[in-house]
Amino acid sequence: MLVAAFIAKRLALLIPVLIGVSIASFFLIRLIPGDPVLLIVPETATDADIAAARERLGLDQPIPVQYLRYLGGLLQGDFGTSITTNRPIATDLAQRLPMTLELITFAMLLALAVSVALGVYAARRLNRLPDMLTRIGAIVGNSLPEFWLGIMLILLFYQILGIAPAPTGRIGSDFAVPTVTGLITVDTLLAGRWDSFVNALSHLALPVVTLAIVISAPMIRSVRASAIEVMQSDSYRCAAAHGLPERKLVNGYLMRQTLGRLPALAALVFGNLIGGSVLIEFVFSWQGLGQWALRGLQVRDYPVIQTFVLVTATAYVLVFLIADIVQAILDPRVRI
């Protein structure tokens, strides 16, 4: 019950942030000096075209009215129309989002597993060889440009070793399956095509590993640091001084307290993950949200940019909310 109240309170706090985010993304494209309508109409447009576009887009209205219309559209799932392809943005989103989601989810799960295992392992061997190697690995991972790492992995595993598929999308053309959920791993299983599933996994492997390496680095550092902090805390030392067995110490004391901070950490890293996914999709020709946004960014398709910024920020905020809630459930002290 207390947790429910906590969630309600966090949700209430979320609303002003989301409104702020929508205002910020609304004004973002108005950063450029000059008439926004000129950015939206094709360069060949006549004065009459411009006037018509201005009226159609409601740009002749006062700014607050424009914002409220924009907000109203968002609430109904209307994100506007791409000015370069003339397709409704909502349609593109629905098609692209699952692809990116799949990439991000696998990368996050892999990174979580790796960073918890390595971080705690290193902390328990503080300043010995495994710890040193982990720390060096984390600094290296933190310094690697993900897009270059992706290219290097392609060079190694596709070009030289020949064990990875070509970086041209998420499934080989012979293995195509009908789209149901948009998540390729789910769709292949739904279609009962085991061979397609394996093929999809092989296409996922390199981009997921690249992303996971880059986001694991900061997480390993943090997990290691909090594990060390717990092990040096009086509560852990007290439990050790009272002769609790090793397994109890690790599971009941070290892990519980170390993992308590993981949700917030993962949420923070989620931001890097979204950013990194744009670059990684570019490297691996992954036709997800990032590629779609990137094309919009390069040709200055402002409604696309606006929507992309809004969607990623909303996702980021929601992930933080989830992290907060998970943390509240894990930590008795939050239940005030």
């Binding site: 009272h242 002769g243 067995p245």
Partner: protein, 531 residues
């Protein structure tokens, strides 16, 4: 001498730090007999805690230990693996310094007890045993308490839970490391009695490590005095207190304030002009989670005259610090009026109050926290001087003058706070307050954060300053004994109200409020008759 339970011989511990190797223990030998309560006393940094940490193999990272330690024949230093685990908690129960930090924040009190039973004496009815263990340390309603998380416990409760955890597996030696840190005087007595009582039945021994000599004399059979990693004296409590051999022990004993010392000058100067009046002052802090908190201060009336030395005495949380900050205009009262030199201080804005700073200054409790760590002594002392003295040369001369006045050599001017001892840092704080010759000086527990031997010197300095009677002093303290020798008037404060005020000697000879009597009883004193 009966056969020792614990026998430590020539124990040495050295700890490598970035600043070099610290010799925490430099050859310590001691023993504890079954049924005995041994007190290990000394100032902070004396290495006392390293004894407890050696016994449980919990020395700091890369610390080196040598020497021998045996518990009824078991070689403690050689223990490892499963034998060490059984020994920890099973043979030696270590009671940690700050229970709030030492309890696992994410497990209930009951679970933490059960963890320990499982580790040493598994069996049935663990929950029942947990309840019994809590009841045994004097905790009420143990059935509900086992469901509590540590953050739901008060300081005293947390310490009792800590003791219950240490005793849960029936160790033969109970070691308590500074068990009363952060506890009120009344609680200190109760907790020490509880710990000492563990030695009374059967063959268990108790070792209490503390800096508080007065409190230890009440419960310990024998005392070990430590200084800088060495034992300087050891002996039965009574003998050690009545006939101390080492100069260090004598200093520790002398530093325990003597309630019977009186102010040497008589408080005749009641004719000074009034510098400050407080009328019906009320302070409420803003509520954090809804609900209206009780006021931190309410209905406070006080007159302060030149030449006065007034003590404001109360327990921690009574509102005495709030009062001193209200007097200084560091916080704005939510009700009532504070007048200073004809101005209504309580209604003033920041810049108006700033104009009055040259007439009122404050000395703070924690000397290091009160000095800007990045500034030199001369910058610190000249901070208020810049209000009154624009000329740098004259300011410089004033700094020298005031440093000498507080007993510091002017060569200290270029030092930074981390290069000073606690006593020196507090003298700098005093010099800063006195540098512009204020009319009112507020001293907030000026000596309580210092080592006991340094306290006496600083209080002596303050006493000499107050005897000149050219200013008004307000001294906040939790300790009646220290203020008796310093102050003309005492104001006793409890739960935000003044419960009693009057001339110092009247309060001591004829206290009217029960709170005052409780404070008088709780004053630290050496117990030489107890055993």
């Amino acid at each position: 001498m009966s056969a020792a339970l614990l026998d430590i011989r020539d124990l040495k511990v050295s700890i490598p730090t970035p600043q070099g190797i610290v010799e925490a223990l430099r050859g310590v030998s001691l023993h504890v007999a079954p049924g005995e309560v041994l007190g290990v006393v000394g100032e902070s940094g004396g290495g006392k805690s390293m004894i407890a940490r050696t016994l449980t193999h919990l020395l700091p990272y890369r610390a080196q230990a040598s020497g021998s330690a045996t518990l009824s024949g078991t070689d403690i230093m050689a223990l490892q693996g499963e034998a060490l685990r059984q020994f920890r908690g099973g043979e030696v129960g270590l009671c940690f310094q700050s229970p709030r930090a030492a309890l696992n924040p994410v497990r209930t009190v009951g679970d933490q007890l059960v963890d320990r039973f499982r580790a040493h004496a598994p069996g049935d009815g663990l929950k029942r045993r947990a309840i019994a263990a809590l009841a045994a340390v004097g905790l009420r309603a143990p059935e509900t308490l086992i469901e509590y998380f540590p953050h739901q416990l008060s300081g005293g409760m947390a310490q009792r839970v800590m003791i219950a955890l240490s005793l849960s597996c029936n160790p033969r030696l109970l070691v308590a490391d500074e068990p009363t840190t952060g506890l009120d005087v009344t609680l200190t007595g109760e907790i020490l009695d509880l710990i000492a009582a563990q030695a009374r039945d059967g063959d268990r021994a108790v070792m209490i490590i503390s800096h508080d000599l007065a409190a230890l004399t009440k419960v310990c059979d024998r005392l070990v005095v430590m200084e800088k990693g060495l034992i300087v004296e050891t002996g039965a409590t009574r003998q050690l207190i009545t006939a101390p051999q080492s100069p260090y022990t004598r200093r520790l004993i002398a530093a325990v304030p003597d309630v019977t010392t009186r102010r040497t000058t008589s408080p005749e100067s009641r004719d000074g002009e009034t510098v400050m009046t407080l009328r019906d002052v009320e302070v409420r802090y803003p509520a954090r989670f809804g609900g209206k908190p009780p006021p931190a201060l309410t209905g406070v009336n006080l007159d302060i005259r030149t030449g006065d030395t007034i003590a404001v005495v109360g327990e921690s949380g009574s509102g005495k610090s709030t009062l001193s900050r209200a007097i200084m205009g560091l916080l704005r009262p939510t009700g009532g009026e504070i007048r200073f030199r004809g101005h209504t201080l309580s209604a003033m804005r920041f810049n108006q109050r700033r104009g009055l700073r040259r007439y009122m200054q404050m000395v703070f409790q924690d000397p290091f926290d009160a000095l800007n760590p990045r500034m030199t002594v001369e910058d610190i002392v000249s901070d208020p001087l810049r209000l009154t003295e624009p000329d740098a040369a004259r300011r410089s001369a004033a700094i020298d003058r005031v440093l000498v006045e507080v007993g510091l050599d002017p060569s200290y001017r270029t030092r930074r706070p981390h290069e000073l001892s606690g006593g020196q840092a507090q003298r700098v704080g005093l010099a800063r307050a006195l540098s512009i010759d204020p009319e009112l000086v507020v001293l907030d527990e000026p000596a309580s954060a210092l080592d006991v031997t340094v306290q006496a010197q600083l209080l002596d300095l303050i006493r000499r300053l107050t005897e000149r009677r050219d200013r008004a002093y307000v001294m906040v303290s939790h300790d009646l004994a220290t203020v008796r020798a310093l102050c003309d008037r005492i104001v006793v404060i409890d739960a935000g109200r003044i419960v009693e005020q009057g001339a110092t000697e009247d309060i001591f000879t004829n206290p009217s409020s029960p709170k005052t009597r409780a404070l008088l009883d709780a004053a630290p004193r050496l117990h030489v008759d107890a055993r």
